[in-house]
């Protein structure tokens, strides 16, 4: 079976501005795939390239094995759910859902039958005759999904559709979207800047920054095994410490930093003398650790303690003035603000990555 979507050397430029650089990617049929990145990273451009609103400057887009060059958005087997949903205000809910079938010339009775089934599927059975303006945010969301599903696309593209919703509803819609995807079994490509959304819903995630796909992997991989400093910093909370590699051994390396020598994993194979960044997750830091026996440690002054019940977030300041966050579990003894502490972490919880030149 051909891949749902293949991107090969896709570049998109607007004048001098490079929106997407050298994107290579294969998305499998039935996959829930997310593009995660800050605004302006090129994820929406990439989505519009897949749906056909933008032609790539270089490279090719294949959908179901077929090259999409010169094929407009109205002839691609994709359906897009817009950020503002773009429902048609002058049509009823049922007319909105049936629009794709209407322009395809599907006969009325067949169309009505299908719209009825879709209304059942998205739990809007009694709302078919209503205007879009009469619906709640969540209901509009479901109309948009039904309208896109009506044309039976091979790939459903979603451009941050949950961003306009209330927080509680957004979490509910995550589950619902995932359930719909499992049920219809088509490929979903989801665009978001919200890592929570990406991590909870996706089979795989592509993390994007400044037009470049930095890493592709499942949620655990991008969280626990980031391959670039951007991914390490963007996905989840992370502390970073700058330094220079002084020693390399067995997949680990030692970093010389203003805070002393710190040891961490070296998955990208940094060599002695290279500039590097050490990443340590707040939940990997332990208080009172002497750093001698099993790992690395440094001194810090407690600034703020935020008790949240299940966890406590502690903000500390190290000798260089940099702020460090540590997250403590429920049973931990809590430090007092102003207290000097020793912070430590195990070498396998430290991650060394190459420092980008511009940073």
């Amino acid at each position: 079976m051909a891949a749902a979507v293949e991107l090969e050397g896709v570049n998109v430029t607007f004048g001098d501005f490079v929106a997407v650089r050298q994107a290579n990617l294969t998305i499998e049929p039935g996959e829930f795939f997310s593009f995660l990145g800050p605004s302006g990273c090129g994820k929406t451009t990439l989505l519009r390239t897949i749906s056909g609103f933008i032609e790539p400057t270089h490279g090719s887009v294949r959908i179901g094995g077929q090259d999409m060059k010169g094929i407009g958005p109205n002839r691609r087997p994709t359906a897009l759910i817009f950020q503002n949903l773009a429902l048609f205000p002058m049509m009823s809910v049922a007319e909105n859902i049936g629009y794709g079938l209407r322009v395809r010339g599907v006969p009325r009775h067949e169309r009505d039958e299908k719209v009825k089934n879709l209304l059942i599927q998205v739990a809007l059975t009694e709302h078919g005759h209503k205007r879009v303006a009469e619906l709640s945010g969540g209901q509009k969301q479901r109309v948009a999904i039904a309208r896109a599903l009506a044309v039976e696309p091979k790939v459903l593209l979603l451009d941050e559709p949950l961003s306009a919703l209330d927080l509680k509803l957004r979490q509910h819609m995550r589950t619902e979207l995932r359930a719909i995807q499992k049920k219809v079994g088509i490929t979903f490509i989801y665009i978001t800047h919200d890592q929570g959304e990406a991590l909870t819903m996706s089979d795989r995630i592509a993390v994007m920054n400044a037009g470049v796909i930095e890493q592709v992997g499942d949620g655990r991989a991008v969280y626990a095994e980031p391959r670039t400093p951007f991914v390490a910093a963007f996905v989840g909370e992370n502390n970073q410490i700058r330094g220079r590699i002084t020693q390399v051994a067995d997949g680990f390396a030692t970093l010389e930093t203003p805070l002393g020598l710190l040891k961490g994993r070296n998955p990208v194979g940094l060599g002695v003398g290279e500039e590097a960044l050490l990443f340590v997750r707040p939940e990997a830091l332990r208080l009172g650790h002497d750093g001698q026996a099993s790992g690395s440690g440094f001194e810090a002054e407690t600034l703020d303690v935020a008790y949240e019940g299940s966890v406590t977030h502690v903000t500390l300041r190290v000798r260089t003035g940099q702020k460090i966050t540590a997250t403590l579990g429920a049973g931990s003894a809590l430090p007092a603000p102003g207290e000097m502490l020793c912070l430590g972490f195990a070498p396998q919880d430290g991650l060394l990555l190459k420092r980008p030149e511009r940073a």
């Binding site: 817009f82 048609f88 002058m90 998205v122 709640s136 969540g138």
Partner: protein, 295 residues
Amino acid sequence: MTVSPFQRILFALYIAIFFVYLLGPLAVMGASAFNTPEYPQVWPFEGFTLDWFGKLFADQDMMYGLKMSLWIGLLVVCISVPIGLAGAIVMTQITPRARSLYYLVVVSPVLTPGIIIGISTVVFWRQFTGQTGTRFLYDGVILTVFGQASFISAYCMLIILARLQRFDRAQEEAALDLGASYPQVFFHILLPFLKPALFSAAVLAFLSSFENYNTTTFSILSEKTLTTVLAGRMRQGTTPAISALAVIIVAVTVLGAIVYEILKRRADAAAVQRQRAAQAAEEEELAGTPSPAPA
């Protein structure tokens, strides 16, 4: 802040003067239509009569002018609204830098004095029809339609543009994405959205054409419209039959305004109803009434 009785009286007086100034001439003219003297006169009121209405309808020239005015108005609507629509769409498609120049060009007919448009229409069409051997087009009605449409189209464009600028481009893209062709997007999405503006543009185009004199007086050649007939009459001295015509026109206008207001209130009420329904649905949703997950 408290308002003293004195201030209140001043304000009432001001309003009264304002309305007298605005509506007084119309009221005088209207009343004179029902008075018997040969010359429009309200005071003394010598006797109530409806004869002037009869005389008006018996006046061949006026009735002919009215008929031509209605026809020309209709034709101007048919030409100006599509041109205005096309002009407005072009405005949204060109680069922002070209936009200000384009705007200047398409709005210039509005700023040009009507007399100049009238004269230039005649000069151009005489040359054009003469050179191309299409002399049969050199006709007062045709010239007037073209002359009026040349600036009324610009009005229409401005009205349509105002609404078009509020159009959400994503709607067009959504329709395309669902498989619509470009003509389908135009007829299913864009036109329904623009419908109110198209209607306003049509009404305005008709009224501007109907009451136009400056351009028409030149471009009408040997034909006549209501305004040119009226202008001719004024030279010989006015009669209460013209007042009767004024009464009819005012009555039709007021009636139209009332119907419009009723329809608008009805539409507003429906919109409020919808908004209430949306709000209720929103509250229900946030209160956690579980929207049944897809089965």
